[in-house]
Every structure is written in C-alpha cells, then in structure tokens.
Subunit: 228 residues, 2 copies
C-alpha cells in the first residue's frame, strides 16, 4: 500500500524528552536504537505520527510503546525541522517534554528486555540525530518553567519532604537555596499541605507534605503568581 500526493511532504515524528528526579539529580530517559540510522546509539523516545491521532496522542503512544510510561505530565516543546536533521530524508519532529517520578514509573528497560535507561542529565551519551539540541531546548524550558509554575511536583512522589523539594529546585536551577527562606516562601503559598506523617530514614524524621493542585489553581485564577 502506498500513498501519493501532488506535492512532496516531509515525514512527521514526535520525540519526547522525559525528565526524572532521583533525589539528588535530574535524569533523562533514553532508548537505545535498534535500527539504522544510528543503530546502537541512544536517542529520545519517539516515532512517526499516525494520520488519525493528534500530536500529543502520538507522543503518548510512542512513549508507552518504547518505554512503558503512561499517564505522565506532557507538554509540547518545539518543532525541529531542519532539512538534513535525519539522513533518511526530510523528517520534521514535534518535540515534547515529560515529567515523571522514576519510582512510580520504572522505565521498562529497567525491568524487561527493551532498552530504555535513565541517565543523569549532566552525563549523557552522544545522541542520535539532533536529539542533543532537542534536549538542550527542553532543559532550558524546564529551567524557565520551574520558576513560575509548580511543575516540580510532577517529579516528586505524592508525599515529599521540603528538603526533597528544595534539592529538586537546586538541581534544576543549579544553584544553592537558603533552607529557611525556601521553606518560608513555599509555605507562604497555600498549596503545600503538611501531612501528619513523617519520613523514615537515618536521622531526624522530616514532615511529609503534598501538593494541593486545587488550591494552586484557585490561587492561579485570582491572578496569583508563583515565582521562585
């Protein structure tokens, strides 16, 4: 079966930059390519868009097929379409970025045969195609976004300590934050709910909190700005 058009058309793909957080550093999920071009290289999960699905659906489908992840936070990033970015011909790719809690969504590569693996965002292997620039754009977007939108919570477990939250922010913004000021500010917003439960571990237990999206959205509707 073939498809014929009056004018030439680029192929259309989606690619996903999946970020995770392991408690100390930012991580990125990559898959190892099995086929040419770039067979054996690491690459962003992604693939061709089908004719009846919209772009986000395509991204979710590819993400699940290639990594087993589903139900994650996903947002369109940017579209990469330079001629020559794919040696097979003109391929335009709509990039997405996803935020995931690695523990709640173990990458399939960790459990079965498929080759998906988490890498530290700072120590990535060489990537196929122009995926390094896609990743750079995603990192920049994440850094920009984290400051004025509560996206960090997508990377943490439902219940977390303020120290974890701070570590996450420090990892993404790549600078140290003052503990007391950080807590003061975050708690001054009304959307962190302290729970009656404490983290275990080797030292003094820390109070667990959760993010109350309803409260956040109520505030946001009133023109409230997050801003860290």
């Amino acid at each position: 079966m073939t498809y014929t058009y009056e004018y030439p058309r680029p192929a259309l793909t989606v690619d996903c930059v999946v970020f995770g957080f392991d408690g100390s550093g930012l991580q990125v999920l990559l898959i190892r390519r099995g086929v040419e071009p770039f067979a054996g290289s690491w690459a962003l999960p992604g693939g061709f868009v089908q004719m009846e699905e919209n772009l986000e659906t395509a991204a979710r489908r590819e993400l699940e097929e290639e990594t087993g992840l589903k139900g994650v936070f996903l947002e369109q990033l940017c579209t990469f379409g330079d001629p020559g970015r794919d040696p097979r011909g003109r391929v335009v790719s709509v990039a997405f970025f996803a935020l995931v809690q690695p523990d709640q969504h173990p990458a399939r590569g960790d459990t079965d045969a498929s080759d998906a693996k988490w890498f530290e965002a700072g120590k990535l292997p060489p990537l196929a195609f122009d995926h390094a620039s896609i990743l750079g754009a995603a990192l920049e977007r994440l850094r920009g976004k984290i400051r004025y939108q509560p996206v960090g919570f997508e990377l943490l477990p439902k219940r977390f300590t303020l120290a974890q939250l701070q570590t996450l922010y420090e990892a993404i913004l790549d600078r140290p934050l003052d503990k007391r000021n950080f807590r003061k500010k975050l708690l001054s917003f009304d959307f962190l709910v302290p729970l009656d439960d404490y983290s275990g571990g080797a030292h003094r237990p820390a109070r667990l909190h959760r993010f109350d999206r309803r409260k956040y959205e109520a505030l946001a509707r009133k023109g409230f700005l997050f801003e860290l």
Copy 2:
C-alpha cells in the same frame, strides 16, 4: 508530477501571527483568503513548507509572499496538528509569531491589491481554520515574554520616547503602570540610550531613546534578568 510514500503523511504548513503596535493598541496582521476552504475569510498568513527549506525560512518566505514583510523578528510558537483542523485533510501547522513596526513595514495590502490588513488585537473578525486558537496562544506567549525579555523594542521605531514604551507595555500587559516607577526601572537597566533628539508634536517634546541590544546582551550573559 506526484510523490509516493509507503506510509501516509500529513501536509505541513507554517502560519504567522504578526503583531504590530500603532501607538496605542496591539494590532494583528491578517490576510483575506482567496481560495477555498474559507475563501473570503480572514486568516493568518502562511502556507506549505517546501522540502529544502527549514521551518523559519518557510515562515519568512510565506510572510513576504503574502504580506510583503521581511526581516522581521520571528520566533517559533507552537505546532497545531489536530486531525480535522483543516477540512482538506490532515494538515499540521507550525505557528510562528512575528513582531513588526507597522510604519517601517507597511502591509502590502495597504498599498497594492493583495488583501492584507491590520486589525486591532481586541477586535478581530472570525478567522479561518483554528487560527483563533493559534492567535490566542500567540497573545499569551507575547504577554508572558514581554515581562522578562526586551521584545517590546521590536514593535517600536528605532527611536522612541519612554511614554511610547510605557504605552506599549500597558497595552500588552493590559494594566496601567506608574510613570515614574516605570522610567526609574527601565533606565536603571543600562540598555536604553538617551539620544540628543526630541520628539516633535503638539506639546512638550519628549526625549528620544534607543534600545542598545549589545548592552542588553552583555548584561544577559552576566545572568541579569529583565523582569518588569
């Protein structure tokens, strides 16, 4: 001549949301469609991406072909690809937004036969396709961007008064700003150069300024944040 592929491919277009500023309000450049679908409707300038040009080049080419504008500030916005957004079939469109000084770049529709016209951003006619949502996304992006990047200057003449700049910010942010505080803040950054020339007009002349992009970029490299 036809083109045949093993799998079906969406058509790929670019669309441009062109913003201008007339001294008091934000404006948008639209063209009137001559052909079906939506013949006679107003639409964003745009068209099909050619195989050997990258996305931004395609946007610039279409912009010049349809409106005569060239050399403008142009940035990728977002990609719209829902099935059904175009009655002709699956068409995925990469949207761009452009910032223009309407006086320096009179729309061709104003001067010759082609039908391009500036509309006030608040009073737009019904638009073809899903162009209304594209426009909404562009407006939102512009409002977000203006606060922390000096994009406003793309909308003003090279030499402008601080009152013009303030009016522009007020139009985009849609709230009044205090004159003294606005001037204090903008001048505290080092990238507005006062000129030795004054605006004419019916009242006390106002000092002209220009935006010094070099100084801005030097500051930006030092981790300086704009933030209005």
